[in-house]
Subunit: 564 residues, 2 copies
């Protein structure tokens, strides 16, 4: 068999990333196979770390920032601990595209010097390591986005003057906030995939259960943060690409509405497709950490630097109103009302996810909240329109980038190329159909005011984020549980609830909603899924980030408190 | 010559609109030709009105609403006065498509009954007549948008169940606010035109100078409000269609950023084209009236009913901050700084507009404000991209609607049909180029912080809204002075400054910026333009409506106070 010309280039790049790990942090003994050691988080990774490194890296981003912004911990010590842990994480699950620990430690030194001189932090993220999906440009660091053809170029163009020097707007803002950047995480080539597979790093597995996918497209983020090789990072989401890896890895993640976090100067797939815009959102180990990262970025007034960002600062009034509702509801739970959508009418969730939803529903009911049934406009329409939006160019953009090296798409990739391209009239029709669907959904949301007892429509809706707890590679048949929120441009937050448990999550169905439902069901294997994180999604309307972040904190804490 | 089949249908519709005028308000004597009587505003129209009717109709919307919301004037009396004056206006300049005075008076009676019962107004627009561009659907009233093929249909479809019963979201909100709806105003078929011409009403002339165009596409609004047949109304703007008729008719008009005023359920051209979105904005006789109408709509929380509206309420804090800046600047004018763009590098303004700009500049300087020169990124790029956006479908949409009746576009129409249609990749490239231009413009705006002395970038920029004071029919060669703000999605407000004066506005140029500039210059005839309103445009960044409405009030009052 002939070796394709792109393969040595991809192999060299993969090796270069491994070589960027300092020798002292390399694991020399063989790493056990996934079958021998599914879960490499927790005790498994801890064996390679000092007690102090464990102490540092196992706090959430919020708690770490408290220590680094107060001067209790130095940026250098925290950065070194995360660099070490990230290096280990990468050796277990192939979650990094780029490693720049030396630059990070230099930056951390400067932050420590700043603190020593000014007796105050540079910003709310002072000394906090933050990981980045490999779409963000960082000076002196490559961006491949998983394309072999991008190696040694700027977004595929060798002679581009921005190569090696340009930084994305979010990167500039994170630096201004005091964050320490140290690595970029793996993505599926094209970004249009619920797994993380490309010809450079090959495949990122799920660190909680390495038989499964880490999700995608911000898959490296999900895997790295689950291994606590990062306290929090930024991904992007056009159909679920923040929420899928977050929920697959037992994390929190938010898909904000478009226009809040600056995308300016980041690489992307199908740039200029504006029927459904990709958005940036953070992933982290706690709701309060998401809030810290989200709010910090808004404090930089990104609307002055990114023309697509709206002049909508962090709305403390909405945050406070929501916190007040939560507090009042301790005495009078009728102040807050939720809805639950147990399935979307297309694919039923696997047993672990159905159980996770049930745990949340029972928790809310035990707290005394009304939980109404969600009967929205057809989600099949949403799936159809979102699929159409992703395929407007018939895959021409991703084909162009694959063709740079001669490689091709992995079978899991949603938009593979060579489909017919839509024209202006057809695109306009899709845009109108999208708006009409948004209007129907909005009217339905409003109509729930008559059912909640609060005088308002539901405050948030619970639903699956995917049919499965992570997923067996190549078995992700339905992204409709995340993509409908992209079509609606609604706010969606995922959070962990429980883990798949082969003893209780037993499949026993004989009827199916659809052919897709049957395929999804046939892909459930209790033994393989055992141990995978099972989380859910809480969603609100467009631009409801402040409210949803508070509600996700409340609901997830209640669920955790109930001993889920 | 054969009469085309659409002509009798168009003629009958035109006659039906005239027939809707009560006999008592019909003018039976011949109306003088434009050459005999250019200006039909002021004393000319007053001769047909009672003193009381003049008293009512010559207040601005703000002052009328004070009287109708306090119960000082009844809704019925005010409505009847405006119905009468609108009937006269239509007979002078053909500015109405639809007349529904009887329904208006019935609605006014209900409002008066409401006030009598509750001792308070229904809302902030209680009893205020408001005119609507013929894109808004009102029950029992037709919407033709100037297409003969839409007569007797709903947007071209005869069997559509919404025909005669459906109302646009803005209409619902205006009713909830207490406004009285009584007429719909003329538009050019396609809406893509800076004049108002269609085969139904034929042509709407400028009431201040009937040798000239009233502007477009919200041309009927401009003409009607200039004749004080309406105190204020709503138009739409995709390339200048609110601002052009406002400024051509000596009025105030605002093009807000997209996402503030609900477009939901209104008819449109090229619906679903989302590279440059058409937006709705009010036109009125004063800045404070624009503010009343704009703020009133936002009080209805349109983001709960229109998926494209942003959850951005009227921001009183920004209004108050700007008012404070204005007040402080009376003592310390260095608190506010402006820029001026005397021309866009493509077409120089005609003498009346150059003089109007000069008046405003001198006024600001006399007040002590810094007025810097505006040297933005190339406006030629903006013109090219906006033109591309308008022609994405190659005119297929407007051709479809013309073909319903067999009529064709007027020569003035910008998008006439039969151009090649763009595909998804080409559209994506235009969207990217647009965003890159927006980013350049944004960075340029930020850079002025170093020049203003306020510590901030310029507060607003002055420029022409068109090269001419109104325009000689078919001579509108360059809409770049308005369309660049649509491309940028910036906030633009126009206001009146002076009138063209053949004695002072003498053309004497021999060099030209471009072939277009020469054509525009050759179209200037001091004698013909004499008397036409000459206004200018003040613009701010995206979503700066609160700030710009306050600044337009301040600057226009200063100009008026200086006796321009």
């Amino acid at each position: 068999m002939t070796i394709p010309p792109w393969k040595p280039i991809a192999d060299a790049k993969r090796q270069a990333t491994l070589d960027a790990i300092p020798p002292k942090w390399r694991i020399t003994e063989p790493i056990p196979s996934p079958a021998e050691q599914r879960d490499v988080t927790g005790p498994y990774i801890q064996q390679y770390l000092s007690t102090r490194e464990i102490e540092i890296t196992e706090l959430d981003a919020y708690a770490i920032a408290e220590k680094t912004t107060s001067g209790e911990w130095t940026a250098v010590e925290v950065t070194e601990a995360f660099c070490h842990r990230a290096a280990l994480a990468h050796q277990f699950v192939s979650c990094l595209h780029e490693i720049f620990f030396d630059a990070a430690i230099e930056d951390a030194k400067k932050l420590d010097a700043y603190f020593a001189e000014h007796k105050k932090p540079l910003g709310p993220l002072h000394g906090l390591p933050v990981s980045l999906k490999d779409q963000f440009h960082v000076k002196d660091v490559e961006t491949t986005m998983g394309y072999v053809g991008w190696i040694g170029t700027f977004q595929g163009i060798k002679a581009d003057a921005r190569r090696g020097v340009f930084e994305s707007e979010l990167v500039r803002e994170l630096r201004a906030l005091g964050a320490v950047l140290y690595c970029k995480t793996s993505v599926p080539a094209t970004l249009m995939c619920g797994e993380t597979v490309n010809n450079i790093i090959t495949y990122t597995t799920n660190p909680k259960n390495r038989l499964l996918a880490c999700g995608g497209s911000s898959g490296g983020e999900g895997a790295l943060i689950a291994l606590k090789g990062s306290p929090g990072g930024f991904g992007t989401d056009i159909g679920g690409s923040v929420r899928i890896p977050a929920v697959f890895n037992g994390l929190f993640g938010i898909r904000p509405s478009s226009g809040r976090i600056p995308y300016e100067g980041a690489a992307n797939s199908m740039d200029g497709q504006n029927t459904i815009l990709s958005v940036i959102g953070p992933l982290a180990g706690s709701a309060r950490s998401l809030q810290l990262l989200f709010k910090a970025v808004l404090s930089q007034q990104p609307w002055l630097y990114d023309p697509l960002v709206l002049e909508v600062p962090w709305r403390s009034d909405i945050e406070q109103e929501t916190r007040a509702l939560v507090e009042q509801s301790a005495k009078d739970p009728s102040k807050l009302a939720f809805a639950i959508m147990k399935h979307d009418g297309i694919v039923l969730p696997h047993p672990p996810i159905a159980r996770a939803l049930d745990i949340v529903e029972q928790t809310l009911k035990r707290l005394g909240h009304k939980v109404i049934e969600w009967n929205p406009p057809s989600h099949a329409t949403a799936v159809k329109l979102a699929s159409a939006a992703y395929a407007l160019d018939g895959g021409a953009d991703v084909k162009y980038h694959f063709d740079l090296s001669g490689e091709g798409p992995a079978p899991q990739v949603i938009v593979g190329g060579n489909l017919p391209q839509k024209n202006a009239m057809e695109i306009a029709q899709i845009n109108v159909a999208k708006r009409e669907y948004q209007k129907l959904y909005m009217d339905y949301w409003n109509s729930t005011a008559e059912l909640t007892g609060t005088g308002r429509p539901v405050d948030a809706v619970l639903c699956p984020a995917a049919a499965h707890a992570a997923v067996i590679p190549t078995q992700y048949v339905h992204v409709g549980y995340t993509s409908f929120l992209n079509l609606l441009d609604y706010t969606g937050v995922v959070f962990p609830v429980t883990n798949a448990d082969k003893a209780v999550d037993v499949a026993q169905r004989e009827t199916f909603l659809s052919e897709l439902d049957e395929r999804s069901y046939r892909g459930y294997h209790a033994e393989v899924y055992d141990g995978a994180p099972a989380g859910v999604q809480l969603f609100g309307r467009r631009l409801q980030e402040e409210k949803l972040l508070v509600l996700a904190e409340y609901v997830s804490a209640a669920v955790a408190g109930a001993g889920a």
